[in-house]
Symmetry: C2
DNA sequence: GGTAGGCAACGAACGGCGTTCGTGTCAAAC
DNA sequence: GTTTGACACGAACGCCGTTCGTTGCCTACC
């Protein structure tokens, strides 16, 4: 039973494994084939190895996804143009976009105190802008909490529309039909305001304005 | 080879299967042993049957969880005391509590236009309160969107603290240490505002006030 | 009373999954 | 030349969600 050593030159230049390579491959798989396809086995196969090999660089699937999230947040570009409100708008919008571009990643950010390098960069910038707006320390701190929560939630919502098989329009019209068939005596407001509920308009921008205005009018404590 | 009919009296009073029984059992399992234990097999075993039997009443696991969410939202009590702002506060708080009491259920609400009977009841009440506050139809509609998103997000966050093994205190102090070790040149604001970031206080109530104040100061379009 | 039809119940299986364990392998350190 | 230690990985464990085909019971009709 000869153990013929297979020449490694047969498949040359195989890139060495590394945390970064794994994380980037994970994002590739996620973007190409969706959240269900993001399995340890699939990522390993993409790197031409077995799933066990990944665990040297990654604690588990959750750890991988957290790393992927921070990698995605690295795409957020910080700018210094416009009023602090405009900059805060732009920053938050960019963060939502960066997260929602990859299905399921935003959900990782929810209920986690951010600790990734890039997430903290975004947080730091948010704090700077809020201080620039004249808020006291405590209010700024609570505000960044709220803004981050909203960002993650908005991205999660966006994300499901972007991917989950059906597009936004299908989902919305399905809900519209459901609301139209509701008994008016049990759901009077939904019935009478149904048109407004599904009216078009830039709700994301409006939401952010609500948060900013609210923060300015609501001192902590 | 005798097919001896096993007397069903040996295990009597086996409750017949039903969607409701499955949903309630699901909540039981979830509350008792957490999200990881909430499997079709486990719920089936709890009902003394096999997993295949569940699929008569439930399309799949997601469908089950959606039903469980709405069942949980049935616990929200609607009240008619106090100003509309106070009522909105109470309603939202109750919804957050109802959802966050069951690990992972709040996440189901995120990125889903609510269609469950009980969810719609909460939405309808929210709309009524907002109209009572004098908002026009469009602003009220957008506001209920935002409030629902915030409610689901807050519940998701709460939920992970309530369960996920470690309690809130552990998680927070871990983050505090991480922030304390951050390089001040790269993260100047986080470093200098660290104390405020982890300061105690009722952030949930404050957040809701931010939303309400913001909504009042930000007409839609 | 007998029988046909329909449907809830379910046993078994399929094709996955995350993660662990033990064994190779190879390059650097001594 | 030998030792050492980290990386790589094949194989396996114990799960998972879901489907298929059969069974057995209950009902409605003759």
């Amino acid at each position: 039973m000869s153990t013929q050593p297979i020449s490694r030159r047969a498949r040359p230049a195989k890139a060495p494994l590394s945390r970064d390579a794994i994380v980037r491959t994970g994002l590739d798989v996620l973007d190409r084939d969706g959240l269900d396809a993001l399995t340890m086995r699939r990522v390993a196969k993409e790197l031409d190895t077995g799933p066990a090999s990944l665990y040297v660089y990654v604690a588990n699937r959750d750890d991988l996804m957290a790393a992927m999230l921070d990698e995605a947040l690295g795409q957020v570009r910080l700018t210094w143009e416009g009023t602090w409100q405009e900059q805060l708008q732009a920053l938050t919008t960019a963060a939502v976009e960066a997260m929602s571009r990859h299905e399921g990643l935003a959900a990782v950010a929810l209920g986690t105190i951010p600790t990734g390098d890039n997430a903290l960069l975004v947080l730091d910038r948010m704090l700077a802008l809020l201080k620039q707006g004249g808020l006291d320390d405590t209010t700024a701190a609570w505000a960044v909490d709220l803004l981050w929560l909203h960002t993650a939630a908005a991205a999660t919502e966006q994300s499901t529309y972007n991917t989950k098989g059906a597009d936004e329009e299908t989902t919305v019209t399905a809900a519209d039909r459901r609301y139209a068939a509701l008994p008016a005596d049990r759901y009077p407001m939904i019935t009478s305001l149904r048109q407004a509920l599904f009216s078009p308009g830039d709700r994301d921008t409006w939401s952010l304005n609500v948060l900013i205005n609210g923060i300015l009018h609501t001192p902590a404590r």
